[in-house]
């Protein structure tokens, strides 16, 4: 089971993936249902995808969904797999994967802080990680306005708008 097509066919037989995207020669993405995500990650880990490279979140505000993206990597067979699933944006909750990839603890804290997704089963996921004393909605949500926040919180420099040189001044 070396080529990407073999892996894709294998996953198609064992699970019910929604969709596959070929990203590049050594990378593909697979969309799965929420219920299947844990088992597919556990299966792939057993197959050699031992490294969780990244867990991140994408805000599809028009669809009213958050998409969780788990990027995993295999050191023996250098193929990157992006396992993706969509969750409800209004009540963003998902199960933790720390039992499969313990390192996900910090990624889950990160996603909680920047998108507000709650990870059930990871009791540390609500601890602040990067933002200290944050006081607004999570900043990487699409409906957060960074400019308005910056104007409200941080003083800006006032500039004179009138730059027209007076007579005799530098020309």
């Amino acid at each position: 089971m070396n080529s990407m097509n073999d892996i894709i066919n294998d996953l198609k037989n064992k699970f019910n993936p929604i969709n596959f995207d070929i990203v590049s020669e050594k990378q593909f993405a697979i969309d799965v249902e929420n219920e299947e995500l844990q088992s597919i990650l556990a299966y792939l880990k057993a197959q050699g995808w031992k490294q969780l490279t990244l867990l991140t979140c994408i805000d599809w505000i028009k669809e009213n969904k958050f998409q969780l993206v788990y990027i995993i990597y295999n050191w023996d067979n250098p193929i990157t797999i992006n396992v993706r699933t969509k969750i409800d944006r209004d009540n963003p909750k998902f199960r933790t994967i720390t039992s499969i990839y313990p390192g996900a603890e910090y990624y889950e804290r990160d996603v909680h802080e920047f998108f507000g997704v709650e990870f059930e089963g990871n009791e540390k996921s609500k601890k602040p990680l990067f933002l200290e004393l944050w006081d607004d909605i999570p900043p990487l949500r699409k409906d957060f306005d960074p400019l308005a926040y910056s104007k409200k919180k941080f003083d800006v420099r006032d500039y004179k708008v009138d730059f027209i040189p007076k007579e005799g001044e530098a020309e």
């Binding site: 601890k127 990067f130 800006v156 420099r157």
Partner: protein
């Protein structure tokens, strides 16, 4: 080229300046020596710091001004802040600044310290440094070239020599104002460190 009317040096002005000079002899003396040996603590937060290695090493050789890099705040005179400051780093910078001994000088480096630079609309980056710490001198540019940095340091040395670099006195005098701005942006200045709690 002839001097024009208001540039003419006349004796009355010189005397008047002398009369208004309230610095004591020892203060002037001290200022001269301060300007001849400075230890610089560089808090390199942003991309602009890449211009510092050539400034410090043989190409431009900062040390010929009598300036050297220093690793600890308590032994440093100049705090050089290069680049953008997120609220998280600002907290640490304030700690660092308050640990330094007076007289101490702050130099803001690059447009990010001046007005937020390209991060002016970021939720995490402050827009101007002199609201939170007393900046004696800004070096403009994104990023400033080593020549500009050297020119900035020369200006700073002249300012110290003349006794114009008074930022640390301002920080003591208007401490309430600085603290109020700091609290407004940061919530609280106290640094939480979960790894040592």
């Amino acid at each position: 080229m002839a001097l024009n009317e208001n540039e003419k040096i006349n004796e009355i002005d010189v005397n008047e300046l002398d009369c208004r000079d309230t610095k004591t002899f020892w203060e002037k003396f001290g200022n001269i020596f301060r300007s001849k040996s400075l230890w610089m603590l560089h808090y390199c937060t942003g991309c602009g710091a890449i211009e510092l290695p050539p400034t410090m090493t043989s190409r431009f050789d900062m040390e010929r001004f009598g300036m050297g890099p220093m690793a600890t705040p308590r032994q440093a005179d100049v705090l050089l802040i290069t680049g953008y400051l997120s609220v998280k780093t600002l907290r640490r910078v304030i700690y660092t600044y308050e640990q330094m001994q007076t007289p101490k000088y702050v130099v803001g480096f690059g447009s990010c310290t001046l007005n937020g630079g390209i991060y002016y609309d970021s939720y995490a980056v402050i827009s101007r440094l002199d609201y939170y710490l007393p900046v004696d001198l800004y070096i403009a540019g994104c990023m400033p070239r080593p020549e500009a940095v050297m020119n900035g340091f020369r200006t700073l040395l002249d300012m110290i020599n003349k006794g114009d670099a008074q930022g640390w006195k301002r920080y003591l005098k208007y401490n309430d104002w600085y603290k109020r701005n700091q609290i407004r942006a940061l919530g609280e200045v106290y640094v939480k460190d979960e790894f040592h709690e």
